[in-house]
Symmetry: C2
Subunit: 334 residues, 2 copies
């Protein structure tokens, strides 16, 4: 089995988790690492992993130099959520002929929000003979690709509804803070207004991927500002006990209409009050499909896995900007 | 939207259901029909549909003549389950440059059972610039493609278990007869020995597709002869009331081992005693995925939908023999 040589671009929390998982797999070989953080650059990436064991992979800050020095087939890109800010980074990878698998949320389905940028990226990728795709657990899989895969046995689809129900108290502390844990309702609203709490990023991308997959033209696609979930009794979290009346997390919602009728509904519930975690998809149509993953899929593990498992598909795919629905399915890699 | 021109090859029960569904979709245009049954040949395909309305599509028995007369992109092929018997039919389609989407069970993953024939078919398809793929609800989707899609968020997969639980009394009468409804246990066993009752066709194909997808080398893949399910109280079916002690359906099982350990288990339960229908997938690994489709997916509707929804993917794919896991996912077509 020939290993795919991979460069990790972004050595933050997700980049490190990607690295740890990648090192466990015989499908891949880590050959380089990039970041712009001066506290990371020049150090061995291994120092930042749980094992602390040196890897002989020094984090660089000069992509061009690395790409000319090291032979690779793919870049795992985990820097930021906005397409505009990652565009120059990704372009540079493509120009080196490298396939890019990125967790940039806006890249998961960029055609609606950034049609011109998407065309440019597609043309650049084709010119360079490389593939670029945005992915992750969500957007990228649970709320877009998987619902589309579940329409395969349908002769007709009327509506798609996806609900992720997760207990934020079982997640990373930064995530718990991100969903507003422990705030007053007033503080929460202020953070929403100041765009410090953004809710889940990528709901509109998922909606647009579903619509494109089903050949639907939408009149309207709306992301509702996240709503706080308030504790009714004391709730234990990693940020301390949240007293009744304070925030234990949030609900993010988005929907889309076609011919004036609500046809896509996405609901992302992340709060410490959730007892039973699940990811649910309901497709009303012929036949009706009611699917549920009990216990849900852990976000971080899922994002790392979906991203790594997409590498072989991106490497094999014809060149261009791809979205997950148009690649053969990512499958757990050995 | 440019319609894909389709020929229906096989005008039996499934071919007719395919036709009815195809006529409802704006993605496709029916341009021809083939069968060998003298009772069908020369007649308008429409006469055999529920509507009885003539379509102007006369069922022919000469593929070569039809292919030279009519321009098409794809053939929906629904004749028999064995690859050897459909090979000449499919070859002829490929030689005419037509993409073939077939419900032939053995074609869903032919590489293990017929490696030489698979290579030949792949080479022929490539030479002719056409794609051939075997599909359907099962094999083709519920017990192979969907479980593989569900491994995307997994860093590690230890075992895969798929269970289809269906109430045969809610299915077509020929299907109810096929699962042994109303027989004595002795009659059932004789029909098993005589290979009149075969259980579900395609379990080994599904196992082999899963193993190939996960990069697993199996020591052993075994299909267990179907076991009868015996009525404990009177059970109403379309074939009459089955009295206690008689057969109300069957259970088909298959499993596969890797390094001596059972790693894939498929169970297909079709009997009139099933109360809650479902299709369930359990992936033990990191993370564990426990997925369930409540109510299950109706076999006939599902097969028609998966097959039709695969047409655009087969038409777009690079030429060759494909299996479902290596095509972009089939999505409900408009």
């Amino acid at each position: 089995m020939k290993k795919i040589k991979v460069i990790v671009y972004g050595c933050g929390v997700m980049g490190r988790k990607m690295t740890e998982a990648l090192l466990e797999k015989k499908s891949f070989e880590l050959v380089g690492a990039l970041d712009i953080n001066p506290q990371l650059v020049g150090k061995d990436l291994g120092e930042f992993l749980a094992s602390k064991k040196k890897l002989g992979i020094i984090i660089g800050n000069d992509p061009k130099a690395l790409f000319s020095r090291v032979k690779a087939q793919a870049v795992i890109h985990t820097t930021t959520s906005g397409l505009k800010s990652v565009y120059p980074q990704i372009s540079q990878c493509l120009k080196a002929g490298l396939n890019v698998i990125s967790t940039c949320e806006e890249l998961s389905y960029p055609w609606k929000r950034y049609p011109k940028l998407s065309r440019d990226l597609d043309q650049l990728a084709q010119k360079c003979g490389a593939t670029v795709v945005g992915t992750g657990i969500n957007p990228g899989y649970l709320m877009d690709t998987l619902p589309l895969v579940l329409t395969a046995p349908c002769l007709k689809v009327d509506t798609v509804k996806v609900t992720r129900m997760m207990n934020s108290a079982r997640r990373r502390i930064p995530f718990q803070a991100k969903v507003g844990t422990g705030l007053t309702a007033k503080e929460f609203r202020k953070k929403i207004d100041d765009k410090i709490i953004t809710g889940h990023v990528g709901l509109l991308e998922s909606i647009n991927m579903i619509a494109a997959g089903l050949g639907w033209t939408l009149n309207e696609a709306v992301e509702i500002p996240p709503k706080p979930v308030i504790a009714k009794k004391p709730v234990k979290t990693a940020l301390g006990v949240v007293t009744p009346g304070k925030v234990i997390g949030l609900v993010s919602r988005a929907y889309a209409k076609k011919n004036g009728k609500k046809v896509i509904t996405l609901e992302f519930c992340a709060n410490a009050g959730v007892r039973k975690e699940y990811d649910e998809i309901i497709i009303e149509g012929h036949p009706r499909i009611h699917e549920k993953i009990r216990g849900g899929v852990h976000g971080d593990v899922g994002t790392v896995a979906v991203t790594l498992n997409t590498i072989p598909r991106a490497v094999e795919a014809p060149a261009g900007l791809k979205v997950m629905k148009d690649l053969p399915p990512a499958i757990a890699t050995p």
